[in-house]
């Protein structure tokens, strides 16, 4: 029999939830192994290329479910490699939400105020900065000007981008070749490695079982680096503590598959999934009206025609992030770029006489692609997603060598969710069709269902065991020593981009994980500075953890 490897902590997944916990545990002295099912790409690996097999497909996981499709990262660094790096904090009212359970869904211990120091830690680490108007590309400027024209406010969104390095190539979804985007590959992960953490790419964790020693054994397969459908190896590793951070579309599936060996899962595992109330509208702007009504023009005299230029979402209107509005009617509207290959099939033709998402009129719509403006709604959905029985491996049955798979998620938007979407669609139209600026249509849900790049809440934290899979320390109920720190832990939609909140919650979860590890005999302390050595964020949270784990 081959000896089974063992370590103190295994972290599953290397996105925000995984990289942050791996860093702190390794820096505190624990032996940490990170198992990541995707490839390890950096710098020059990030192709500006849509060809199948380029980083555009290697780094992604697109899972088509029933009524909801999820786009997520699939590489070392997880979603941070492919994200747009918009990093706002969630507004205060979000933490008071009731959602589908009829009472406050967040744990009593968490509010915007109590989370603020943990947000600060993330802002220091990546770092996250405010943008100024000259950093905002044409598309953001156009959205800002249209909002202003319609009597709305609009904000440059805080970002984890080094604007000095950014060339506004708009290839950031394929990974940033210029290292301008502050992905986890540039901060937490190298710092974790410097402290001895080992990262194993192409290792897909399938299930967990308990060991006699009171720890856990993780079974993984090793996947081929070109064809992810092909298994080239496998093994198991024992750990005293497990941190699950495979993302909200994958973590619950691993747990569901482990129920046979671990025993029953909390009822909330694989339920209450939220797509962050996400929705997209495509506007085709009238170039002449942009000049006449908004007074915009580029140096060459062209008013806009700049869909391709820029860096993801840079301007949002937060007028509806008003805590006095009724729940489900609060949302933000953010300008966004979705590159070809991802973003055109679901765009619908305004006033189509034939089919809206394909056909001759769709081709005409594509002829005006340079004049597109995409507006992204993040609203309060109703946590209506449920995961069905897990597929044989991973979180989906892979169709293509990379990227495309079929998953077991089922999502049927409720009246509440639909109302929020309808209100936001109407508002986008009110802003952009005013005075003939543009023609607008929402993306269709009829093709691959609703669509999210912000999966959340499939294993959420909470105070009520009936509706939350994790306690407020992120420990899986009735399975001590298993912690979940990724987007699945977030209780519900955030009305803004989620990575900053996922990251802050992961930072906040670390002291309890350290404490649990110490109880299992791991010599580990809490209190590492930011990855670059900065200490302000750490010094601000140390008093909060009461010296519990910082000994």
């Amino acid at each position: 029999m081959t000896a089974i490897e063992s370590t103190d902590v295994v972290v599953v997944g290397s996105g925000f939830g995984g990289a942050i916990t791996a860093y702190h545990l390794a820096a505190g002295g624990a032996r940490v192994v990170v198992l990541e099912r995707g490839p390890w790409l950096t710098g020059q690996d990030f192709d500006q290329d849509f060809k199948f097999g380029a980083s555009s497909t290697r780094a992604f996981d697109f899972t088509i479910g029933d009524g909801m499709s999820v786009l997520a990262g699939n590489c070392v660094g997880g979603g941070s490699v492919v994200y747009f790096a918009a990093m706002p904090r969630a507004p205060r009212f979000v933490f008071e939400r009731h959602g589908s359970i009829g009472r406050r869904m967040w744990p009593a211990a968490i509010s915007r105020d109590t989370l603020e120091p943990w947000y600060d830690r993330v802002a220091e680490a990546l770092p996250v900065t405010r943008q100024d108007w000259p950093d905002v590309p044409y598309a953001g400027g156009l959205w800002a000007a249209a909002c202003h024209h319609a009597g709305r406010t609009a904000n440059p969104v805080p970002v984890a981008i080094d604007n000095e390095r950014c060339v506004n190539c708009n290839w950031m979804m394929s990974g940033c070749r210029f290292d301008a985007k502050r992905s986890l590959l540039l901060n937490y992960l190298p710092a974790a490695i410097a402290h001895g953490a080992r990262i194993r790419p192409l290792h897909e964790v399938q299930r967990l079982e308990r060991t006699d020693a009171g720890g856990y054994r993780l079974h993984y397969t090793v996947v081929d680096d070109v064809d992810y459908r092909v298994e080239v190896g496998g093994g198991a590793i024992d750990a005293k503590i497990v941190v699950l951070a495979a993302g909200a579309g994958a973590t619950p599936v691993i747990l569901q598959r482990s129920a046979d060996t671990l025993g029953p899962m909390p009822a909330a595992v694989g339920r209450y999934f939220s797509g962050n109330g996400e929705r997209l509208n495509t506007a085709v702007v009238d170039e002449d009206r942009v000049r006449e009504v908004l007074g915009l023009s580029r140096s060459d005299g062209v008013p806009y025609e700049a869909y391709q230029i820029g860096k993801g979402p840079c301007v949002a209107t937060w007028d509806r992030l008003d805590g006095s509005l009724p729940e489900y009617l609060r949302y933000s509207l953010e300008q966004l770029y979705f590159p070809p290959g991802f973003g055109t099939i679901l765009a619908q033709v305004p006033d189509a006489t034939g089919p809206t998402w394909f056909g001759a009129e769709k081709k005409e719509l594509l002829r005006h692609w340079k004049s597109w403006l995409t507006i992204f709604t993040m609203s309060e959905d109703d946590n209506e997603g449920v995961f069905g029985p897990p597929p044989p491996t991973g979180n989906a049955v892979r169709v293509s060598q990379q990227m495309l798979g079929r998953g077991a998620l089922r999502y049927r938007p409720t009246e509440n969710t639909l109302r929020g979407w309808a209100a936001s669609d109407a508002e986008v139209r009110d802003i952009l069709e005013r005075d003939g600026l543009a023609r607008v249509m929402p993306w269709t849900n009829d093709v691959v269902g609703a669509y999210t790049v912000h999966p959340l809440a499939s294993c959420r934290i909470g105070d009520d065991p009936a509706t939350s899979a994790l306690d407020d320390r992120h420990e899986l109920r009735s399975h001590p020593g298993i912690f979940v720190t990724d987007g699945s832990a977030v209780p519900g939609a955030l009305t803004v981009n989620p990575a900053m909140t996922i990251a802050a919650l992961a930072e906040r979860a670390v002291p309890a994980i350290v404490e649990a590890a110490r109880q299992r005999g791991v010599a580990v302390r809490y209190g590492a500075p930011a990855p670059d050595g900065a200490t302000a964020g750490r010094d601000a949270v140390l008093p909060l953890v009461g010296g519990r784990a910082a000994r």
Binding site: Q48, G53, R89, P91, A145, A154, L296, F358, S400, V447
Partner: protein
């Protein structure tokens, strides 16, 4: 031929030569077919290739059924789906991809691959596709890279304040 006709229904183009029966000529300029839809469907990476023969048969079966239902007589010299007129192809594809159709996943996938051929030339390096005048990306006006094959846009911003920020913005730049 069958998949050319399907892809041409998704994003139509002009006939490539007189008597081109698969491309219906329902639009000017090259469509999904001229953009390489069949090549994209045949790539190893896409994962569709092994299923294509069966899918063509299934699609032609649906076309035959559709024609019978409508009392259409189809040219026996070409596969039934190809023999349908453009409006009939469109109607049939709309049915097959409708939310309630049992095979919708499959036909949506074929539609996705057809679209990706047009808007992203997924079977070619993007630099090469643009240099060769790829019909789809050229129609969209996708800008070419700089001389080193990389995209950069030195001019990218109107450079001035264009709206008032929300009054409840915190010092971190976030909503309060």
């Amino acid at each position: 031929m069958t998949f050319e006709a399907f892809a041409d229904t998704i994003l139509p183009g002009e006939k490539r030569f007189p008597g081109d029966v698969t491309v219906a000529g329902a639009a000017i300029g090259g469509g999904a077919v001229a953009s390489g839809a069949v090549a994209v469907l045949r790539t190893d990476e896409g994962g569709m290739a092994p299923a294509l023969d069966n899918l063509a048969e299934a699609l032609n079966g649906h076309a035959g059924g559709y024609a019978a239902e409508r009392g259409l007589s189809l040219d026996p010299a070409v596969p039934p789906f190809v023999a349908l007129s453009f409006p009939d192809r469109t109607e049939l594809v709309a049915r097959l991809t409708a939310p309630t159709h049992p095979e919708r996943d499959i036909w949506v996938s074929v539609a996705m691959f057809s679209t990706i051929a047009f808007d992203a030339a997924a079977h070619l390096h993007t630099v090469d596709a643009l240099a060769a005048g790829h019909p789809g990306m050229t129609t969209m006006g996708f800008k070419p890279p700089q001389a080193d094959g990389l995209w950069r846009f030195p001019e990218f911003s109107y450079g001035r304040q264009l709206a008032h920020p929300h009054p409840d913005t915190t010092p971190s730049g976030s909503p309060a």
